[in-house]
Amino acid sequence: DVKVTQSSRYLVKRTGEKVFLECVQDMDHENMFWYRQDPGLGLRLIYFSYDVKMKEKGDIPEGYSVSREKKERFSLILESASTNQTSMYLCASSPGGTVQETQYFGPGTRLLVL
């Protein structure tokens, strides 16, 4: 079974802090994704990566950056956390080829920015 893990289930940070969310997948997938999920808005794509060191902006990249130095690991960085970044963050991966394939999700990180 594909396993996607996220470094924290719950995280509390203060406004202005730099926040790192880590995601690791163990199935040698090419593509990795970061979403945020908010009530009434569904999942919105922040960034995705189709290869090591490659990244593309999603629908809402402002205020975020990402890093993919190794194939299995995709990090989401909040350079200066703000209260409007309080949300559920979901990482996903997919095998490769296209970004339209089935995605495998981690359990999510619920981030609260005070």
Partner: protein, 112 residues
């Protein structure tokens, strides 16, 4: 705007009944997928249907796709309490290597 939108937003049924939820989308697609999310957890892939398919089954799940109406339905037969979850459709766009776009979901509650 959302590519895929689910209807209804919330649905409550008695255990044992069938549950039907719908997804409408705006542009031509290659595939349409359905995912389930248990409360506070990540999404789990349920089924993928391609644009040249009209119906697909997986266990108690039946998915239909009508590309002329740009809509899909997910039927869960003989519902169980464990089916209580949110269900999302995800669509791509048939031009280019476009990402998936998820709808806002249908919240399904099965009453024991």
């Amino acid at each position: 705007s959302q590519q895929g939108e689910e209807d209804p937003q919330a649905l409550s049924i008695q255990e044992g009944e069938n549950a039907t939820m719908n997804c409408s989308y705006k542009t031509s697609i290659n595939n349409l997928q359905w995912y389930r999310q248990n409360s506070g957890r990540g999404l789990v892939h349920l089924i993928l249907i391609r644009s040249n398919e009209r119906e697909k089954h997986s266990g108690r799940l039946r998915v239909t796709l009508d590309t002329s109406k740009k809509s899909s339905s997910l039927l869960i037969t003989a519902s169980r309490a464990a089916d209580t979850a949110s269900y999302f459709c995800a669509t791509d766009r048939s031009f280019g290597n476009e990402k998936l776009t998820f709808g806002t979901g249908t919240r399904l509650t099965i009453i024991p």
